[in-house]
Subunit: 393 residues, 4 copies
Amino acid sequence: MPGDPFSGLFVPEAIAETTSPEAWLGAMLNVEAALANAEAETGLIPAAAAEAIVSACDSGGFDADRLAREGRRSANPVVPLVAELREKVGGDAAGFVHYGATSQDVLDSAAMLIARGALDVIRGELDGVAAACAELAERHRETSMVGRTLLQQALPTTFGLKAAGWLDSLLAARERLGSVSLAVQLGGAAGTLASLGTEGERVVGLLAQRLDLEEPALPWHTARLRVADLGAALALTAGALEKIALDVLLLSQREVGEVAEPSGGGRGGSSSMPHKRNPVGSVLAIACARRIRGDAGVLLAAMPQEHERAAGAWQSEWAPLSDALALTGGAAAAMHDALQGLEVRPERMRENLELLRAELPEEEIDRALDPAGYLGPASVFVDRALSRYREGS
Amino acid sequence: MPGDPFSGLFVPEAIAETTSPEAWLGAMLNVEAALANAEAETGLIPAAAAEAIVSACDSGGFDADRLAREGRRSANPVVPLVAELREKVGGDAAGFVHYGATSQDVLDSAAMLIARGALDVIRGELDGVAAACAELAERHRETSMVGRTLLQQALPTTFGLKAAGWLDSLLAARERLGSVSLAVQLGGAAGTLASLGTEGERVVGLLAQRLDLEEPALPWHTARLRVADLGAALALTAGALEKIALDVLLLSQREVGEVAEPSGGGRGGSSSMPHKRNPVGSVLAIACARRIRGDAGVLLAAMPQEHERAAGAWQSEWAPLSDALALTGGAAAAMHDALQGLEVRPERMRENLELLRAELPEEEIDRALDPAGYLGPASVFVDRALSRYREGS
Amino acid sequence: MPGDPFSGLFVPEAIAETTSPEAWLGAMLNVEAALANAEAETGLIPAAAAEAIVSACDSGGFDADRLAREGRRSANPVVPLVAELREKVGGDAAGFVHYGATSQDVLDSAAMLIARGALDVIRGELDGVAAACAELAERHRETSMVGRTLLQQALPTTFGLKAAGWLDSLLAARERLGSVSLAVQLGGAAGTLASLGTEGERVVGLLAQRLDLEEPALPWHTARLRVADLGAALALTAGALEKIALDVLLLSQREVGEVAEPSGGGRGGSSSMPHKRNPVGSVLAIACARRIRGDAGVLLAAMPQEHERAAGAWQSEWAPLSDALALTGGAAAAMHDALQGLEVRPERMRENLELLRAELPEEEIDRALDPAGYLGPASVFVDRALSRYREGS
Amino acid sequence: MPGDPFSGLFVPEAIAETTSPEAWLGAMLNVEAALANAEAETGLIPAAAAEAIVSACDSGGFDADRLAREGRRSANPVVPLVAELREKVGGDAAGFVHYGATSQDVLDSAAMLIARGALDVIRGELDGVAAACAELAERHRETSMVGRTLLQQALPTTFGLKAAGWLDSLLAARERLGSVSLAVQLGGAAGTLASLGTEGERVVGLLAQRLDLEEPALPWHTARLRVADLGAALALTAGALEKIALDVLLLSQREVGEVAEPSGGGRGGSSSMPHKRNPVGSVLAIACARRIRGDAGVLLAAMPQEHERAAGAWQSEWAPLSDALALTGGAAAAMHDALQGLEVRPERMRENLELLRAELPEEEIDRALDPAGYLGPASVFVDRALSRYREGS
């Protein structure tokens, strides 16, 4: 199976489950079932047919991998899924399976369900990272350290302010994730909902309600801003996490030595060097973030889609979307682990700060250690980030 | 000069001016002047010094290209700019130029000013595109045509609905552009604002006010979400425009012949085939959108920035940001031109629709021409897009 | 499991197997076994130890998914693999497992083995596409059709020349793939091979021989040109395939109607429109190619790697490399299917060509149908592509 | 003018000149002139006409910016250029301007000329970087230092080996650049060369000869592998340079202190911190490399081009190609400056190495300082890189 040969390394189980082939299959069946119910409610299909369809959807026995393989003939997995569902339902009710819908209605709505499920887990991990940052910001409000620009020592700052900066970016990323519209898709074969006649609008509304997704103004088969925007929001979130990872990595260098990721239980070990304590959480977060950007790029490039359904661009979205969700969860979980037990070494920070004495006027350094000096403004910024954090919690 | 050897081809003058080297120079000088004024207001520097600085900023005589060349030695253009400004100001006041600020404060704030200026022009062009779409949606509400999926004829739709879909995406893109935070930057050498003492916060507020930018919670030297988000929003906007361009292009094919971009005045001509009428607006919009995605990718990749100022990632943002702004304007202007005079041919749409008779039941086609049939739901969607448009205008 | 929720849809079994988690596990074990043998041959480790190691590598019972999950602690899957292998080997021989090597030696060498295996399958599919193109070029050498520029009718050309152009690009892509260096990796913990003493060089040579990989001049732990180049070569190949797919797609439009992908056996079917015959091969190839570009971008971005082993960039390579290999195979297989049974309609080509009569001088059209006219030069180009093809076969 | 508002900062004059709007204009005129000469040589056009055309091409008075602006109407700059050239030539000869060619013939051939000119300068800079690396490798063959993996201290290595690794990658990149095919383009309106009749082939050959470009097997209007491959080769080269920059940057950190970029003449200065000595060459190289990847991504994405001339993808290539060439030159020049005067501090390397004593067995460290110990294998690798370098010079 293509994709990631080492996926468990980057994505913990809890998030992986929300984006697995089985999760996608389940989401598609949920959409078919909810559609049948919504259509029964409006009288478009018989209630008994809806019951039969819902029961077939719940009956199990579908095989995600087989459907994918069979989907190769039609370039989408919904065609074989609907065929199998019809067979399971049997009788007259079979004709009401997928009534008035097109494959893309099911797949796009399922994608939104997948996104919602994954975002829930992602948000949980981000909350963990934010909490860790908030604690670091608070605790190290007066911990002086060297501020570094272009990787050179510049002027003093505090570790609290650094952590507050991380926190502030996470809050912004979280907000961006929350701003993405997750809407149901229902347009029928050509996006007109013609086959549902005058009940079309109502069915869309009911379907949205049942799936707990937004009701869009129009079918969005080839209006992909929400998908691309979700990709962008994930990349932005990953970028905010990677900034933290990069700082931790640089501060963890032996010669800098100001922080260390937690070890223990084999964490951070090497196959050839027993003395090493690798910053593995940061490494994983960086690797995830780099891949998420690749995914987000595919989603942005897929925006221009032809006419009423695209020939290639739409189909290119599924894996990158699923992958970006999983990896954002992976990156957040990795930084959550890294920051939760982060070892901070104020004495090394102080020592490195002393190196500036050779280059800066004495009083500049002394001010650095004086809470009434530059620690003042830095502390104001820490407060701002913390109060923004507390408001949001 | 690197960059675009044919920039006038892609970007009309009005938008090009907002992102030119001279515009950037002007924006940086505006920041230095506003900073001096804000600092004088708080008493951090003498009023006379501020006056001298403002007057030097306004005096002209700076050379954007020379400053860029000189900036090579310090990897940023603000170092030579400040040196030149100090020389112009002269006397005691020279010491108050750029007081407490770092190069990045000036460049980031200038970037936000550039973005605001360019976004104003972009929004104007997008309004033009939206107006054209709204008119097409309204006028062709009952113009039947073939809906096409995977580039194959599928079922009937209306040209009004197609235009309504374009419109709806443009409105969403416009909203995304509007959601990007444009904030002032002021943090001083290490992002602590230490050198402004207890007045730091107030200076930030005043500077934000004078430059009409948002006041950020914290300095954002290495918290780049807003820059990457702006890039993403531009790419999303470009994607919405490219979707329209792609549809126009496909509908313009000789064998389809349902629309044609305006010609006249040499527009759409070829160097070797006088009979051709090329869909040049769409071609330009597509070319711009493709390049904007490249720029947005660089901005997303630049998010993880080291410590208190990045060594490379920050410096990689300037050109892609400027370029993406200019090209989004170029894409919008191109589609504005293309749609404003778009020739729509309902008779060809009808003819192509008749081809479906061979493949669909007769009544399906007849329904396609019946406003009480599938034209009904399509018309509802058109109304929704139009009312959303009218509310926003 | 993250990655592609519908991978069987894009990647046929034969290629999927070459890049599966199990294939990666097998490759890593092959490297460990070959290393033991090479080291025994040079006398660095006892022959009996090598035997025990090889036998443990062959013994089965490793679990790719579990190793990946356990690898999360060390940010690479080789650490737990080596631990498990040592346990299996047991006794004194355990100490000779992975002797003098570092995790990256094993993973990078395994990646090269995976690449070689996948490239073999890819090449087979590309040969199929090339053969189909060659046949089309030969058979339609004198089949006149409209040449189209900017999607507008331009001047006559031949379908043979179009297919010859496809063929020529495929040959160039195949050559590019062949030019990528697949080299063994062996440098030890810091890339110096210090722990192998004076036998280091010889072990590298023997290992290369046993694995049938190139021997590099230097360990390339952080010199990633070959990996990024492989990504680029795959993206170039995918681009050549996508160009064919795009042309097939456009020629398949109902209103153009000049070619049709093979149907039958449910191929090309739709979930809502029984009359449709979708160009599914082209659609799949385009979707694959778009994703491959995302992967290639991650690989290019991973080139700058820190010091002697990277913290994040290296780890970001594994999945995109594996994915790009699988998807290139998927794209090639899809176009192989599409072209092998491609239905070509010379009469529709002729009809569309007649549309040009209204716009071009009569004689231009007549020349188009005259083999001694412009068909002449076109035919020369067809010959060139064909003879280049035959030489390479 | 869009593009880079600070281009002189990233791209020195010598390379900027090879990719300027004026250089492109000159290249297009060179193509028109060479085409006229080639056609006169085959008797397709009168010798006098060719003379008049050549003389008009040489006469000056064209304005690159104006042509770009006028090109907006036809979505390419060659249409207005040919019009202006015809007017300049006047009389009967005017009809022989651009004879049998299409705009893309001229622009693509000009792009190849631009590439060749820029690659010459790039190669010169790369040679400078390679020479500096070779010298460092030679001189520091026995300079012990810490090898670092995942940014943690691992085991000893030598600075000579590090520099040899840089060198080896540069040589590989140089080779990749040299492998890109720069071919003339001539296909006429639909890529058939029909309008040149039986002389078509000969004209292509003569044109290739006159412009000193390769003669392609077929016109390559929509077979873009060579353009995308050039983009990839530039990104690979930039990646090799960025790896060096990243190492220099990390080694330059105050707390590591093992190397320093040259200073003097204001180089490396800061606007707010006089004590700083910024690694500006590395910073610039990194910024350039990041942007080059954006450009290369656009070029890869532009590979699938429709039919006989693309509507958007082709037009998207021009600026990224030109930009990537200029920036690769800029990155190489920046690293040339950085390495040429690089200050290497063996004593700091030794001090940092001593930190490993706490964690490694004593004898491991002692071996690190013993040329007969691990310095042996490292030295072999240094020799290999050096001899590969000397062979290539």
